[in-house]
């Protein structure tokens, strides 16, 4: 009865909207705010990207057309940063999603008091601010005095301390590990929720059909988790693409350019060299890449 009423009210409201199209104008304030808050910075970035604009120059900015974009194509640091961004983003998301999935499946049936506490503990890294995560790992990775080297040396696994963050080869994996540690609980949380949403009838029917263990996971549970996995992965791809705090606090993009991502490179160009024109051009490319992911995310939401 209540549901029937609700349906009637919704239908009435819809009819009202159709009858008074001027009500559409009610969204105007929101559109104005969005145009100011989102639209203006984007348009201004586009304008800056075609200018030679350095904050340190007393002379006014000059229009240079596509010169900044031409420089970008020839800039080896841009390509290294783009490659690092892809490695950091997709590497972290894939591993975190897998770990989150494994943890969610392993703890699915833990419902007693202590088990619930263990599940809560698994969520803890997600609650730690990213900057704290970065400094935590930075000190753990220290070549001299870091706990990771201390343990590996004490257990005889290593004979000399490893410069985790100061090796061009190891820095990116080391930073990614910190990121994975912080991000896995997000996947664990979402996938745990998705697991509980699988209808019992489906599980029971599968059991009757003798589905157990691996076959139950692959053929029954994973198809139900696919939507949550896709949407959470896309969200995290967008989030990691913009991740500045962890990398800056741990390596500042170094050693060399081995952990320099697009966001770090843009920061250096804009706030160390004050080259806002060129930094904006990179920002535009970065924005276009993120738009692709955002569109994929919206499409995934619509399909589901």
């Amino acid at each position: 009865m209540v549901a029937a009423n609700a349906t009637t009210i919704t239908a009435t409201a819809r009819r009202n909207v159709e009858r008074y199209p001027l009500l559409d104008w009610m969204v105007t304030p929101t559109l104005v705010v969005l145009a100011l808050v989102v639209g203006y910075p984007i348009v201004y970035t586009l304008v800056l990207s075609v200018q030679d604009y350095n904050l340190l120059n007393v002379t006014p900015a000059t229009f240079v057309g596509a010169q900044n974009y031409r420089n970008l194509v020839l800039d080896p640091i841009f390509w290294v940063s783009l490659e690092n961004t892809a490695i950091y983003t997709f590497g972290s998301v894939i591993v975190s999603a897998l770990l989150g999935l494994i943890l969610a499946l392993l703890t699915e049936n833990l419902t007693s008091g202590p088990s619930r506490f263990a599940r809560t503990l698994l969520l803890m890294p997600w609650a730690v601010p990213f900057v704290v995560v970065a400094f935590l790992f930075r000190y753990m990775y220290l070549q001299n005095g870091g706990i990771i080297n201390a343990i590996l040396l004490a257990t005889g696994i290593l004979h000399a301390p490893v410069p985790w963050l100061n090796s061009a080869a190891l820095a990116m994996p080391a930073v990614s590990v910190a990121n994975i540690w912080a991000m896995t609980p997000f996947f664990f949380l979402l996938l745990s929720a998705a697991l509980t949403a699988i209808p019992n009838e489906v599980i029971e029917a599968a059991r009757i059909d003798r589905a157990r263990g691996w076959s139950m996971i692959v053929f029954i549970k994973l198809p139900f988790l696919a939507a949550a996995l896709l949407i959470s992965s896309l969200l995290m791809v967008i989030s990691n693409f913009n991740d500045f705090a962890k990398i800056w606090a741990m390596t500042q993009g170094g050693p060399g350019y081995s952990t320099s991502t697009l966001v770090v490179y843009v920061y250096r160009l804009a706030f160390e060299q004050y080259n806002f024109g060129y930094a904006s051009a990179i920002g535009v490319v970065w924005l276009l890449l993120l738009l692709c992911f955002a569109l994929a995310y919206l499409r995934a939401l619509r399909i589901r």
């Binding site: 904050l55 007393v58 410069p163 100061n166 390596t251 500042q252 050693p255 250096r268 004050y274 080259n275």
Partner: protein, 426 residues
């Protein structure tokens, strides 16, 4: 009825008149009172906060018509904020600044030249060299608040334990390398050489003298460029130090200080303030400090000369400020007042004043210590100007990324030098 109605009206008129008179008086008083905005990191840092706040309070007491509004901004953020504020027409009146950031700000055209404010007697009292590098296009754009050059600090206990003569610090790069190897061999837990290899403009400032002693000068007048035999020699030496564990790459200059206080760093390329930091951390007496630590000039490399950099802080005045005389009075007070020099410059900053004589004989006597003496006689004469400016900021990312590649990777030095050269500003 009419008279009754008129009385409240008269009372109202009288009240309005009284309020107007009071408002005018208050307005006049507010007009006389000057508020100066002082952007600085001294009040943002725990060690210097109390001393700078006291200096400000004392200044306000001696200048009742001036109020100082201190704006705390961290050291790493202050240049960004000042550039953005200067370009948006909203700068503070006075700011604390240092190194390349001073010249960067000057290039925005936002700084007030100080030549007309520095009178002859003050100029005569400024230490030789303290004003060098602070002029742009012939105009003085910053006033030296303190001096903080870098020297090679050596831990005498560690040297003795390694079988080295603690009173004979190395004088050449070859001697230094041999000493570092001896220390590594005898005390593996000790970092033989503390040197900043982070990727930031300050790290290039800190490494510049080492490059110079190899004859390398990546940018500036008479530059050798990065793809030069001199630069390659410097990078090769740095790689050798890293590969043999004679340095600890990736640490900021400040991250060696607590380790130095625990006798875990043998040689440390650091500024004069190191003494204060070590004593603050381990509560060592001055006598014990002098028995444990000494400081000397940089060992000489193939170029045959020692070099150092001036890491002191400067005070700048913005041209847009409305109260320039008051701003100058504040700048002069911070840099020359004996109480500020005693409590702040020497006390918590552990730096040298920029003036020859403080005007206080007791205070001048305090400057007569073995460390200050070594800085005055051995280190300060080796200070070389660096090609500060926008090009230096751009070069710092490229050069320090190359240094990091050299000390942490396997890329051939020739390739690294060529890569740095490609990224340097033309």
């Amino acid at each position: 009825m009419t008279s009754l109605a008129r009385r409240p009206r008269l009372q109202l008129l009288a009240s309005v008149a009284a309020f107007a008179v009071l408002a005018l008086c208050a307005g006049a008083s507010a007009q006389d009172k000057i508020t100066l905005h002082f952007a600085n990191w001294a009040s943002a840092e725990g060690t210097t906060k109390d001393a700078i706040n006291k200096a400000i309070t004392d200044f306000e007491a001696s200048h009742p018509n001036i109020t100082i509004e201190s704006e705390s901004i961290s050291f790493s953020e202050i240049a960004h904020q000042l550039v953005l504020r200067a370009r948006s027409g909203n700068p503070p009146d006075v700011a604390q600044i240092s190194g390349n950031d001073t010249i960067l700000l000057a290039s925005t055209g936002a700084l007030e030249p100080l030549d007309s404010y520095v009178d002859a007697s003050l100029k005569a009292n400024i230490k030789p060299g303290a004003l060098s590098g602070l002029s742009v296009n012939g105009k003085l754009i910053a006033f030296p608040w303190n001096q903080s050059p870098a020297g090679l600090w050596y831990n005498k206990k560690i040297m003795a334990a390694a079988g080295l003569d603690p009173n004979k610090p190395p004088t050449t790069i070859d001697e230094l390398t041999a000493d570092l190897e001896a220390i590594k061999k005898s005390q593996p837990d000790v970092i033989p050489l503390g040197i900043d290899t982070t990727n930031r403009a300050f790290a290039l400032t800190s490494n510049w003298p080492w490059m110079q002693t190899f004859g390398a000068k990546p940018i500036g007048e008479g530059a050798t460029g990065a793809n030069s035999p001199e630069m390659k020699a410097y990078l090769t030496w740095m790689r050798k130090l890293a590969q043999e564990g004679l340095m600890d790459p990736g640490r900021k200059i400040g991250e060696f200080r607590p380790l130095a206080a625990q006798d875990k760093v043998a040689f440390d390329w650091d500024q004069v303030l190191l003494q204060g930091v070590i004593q603050g951390a381990n509560h060592m007496s001055a006598d014990d400090f002098y028995k444990t630590w000494g400081v000397t000039s940089m060992p000489v490399g193939p170029e045959g000369k020692a070099h150092s950099f001036e890491g002191g802080h400067q005070l700048i005045m913005f041209a847009k400020g409305a109260h320039k005389d008051a701003a100058w009075a504040f700048i002069k007070y911070l840099a020359t007042d004996p109480a500020v020099i005693s409590n702040y410059t020497l006390g918590v900053s552990s730096s040298l004043p920029s003036v020859v004589s403080t005007g206080d004989a007791t205070l001048d006597a305090k400057l007569n210590t073995p460390i200050f003496d070594a800085f005055a006689k051995k280190v300060i004469p080796t200070i070389s100007e660096q090609p500060y400016g926008p090009a230096f900021a751009q070069a710092s990312t490229a050069v320090m990324a190359g240094v990091q590649e050299a000390v942490t990777g396997q890329t051939p030095i020739d390739d690294i030098a060529a890569s740095i050269q490609q990224q340097l500003p033309h």
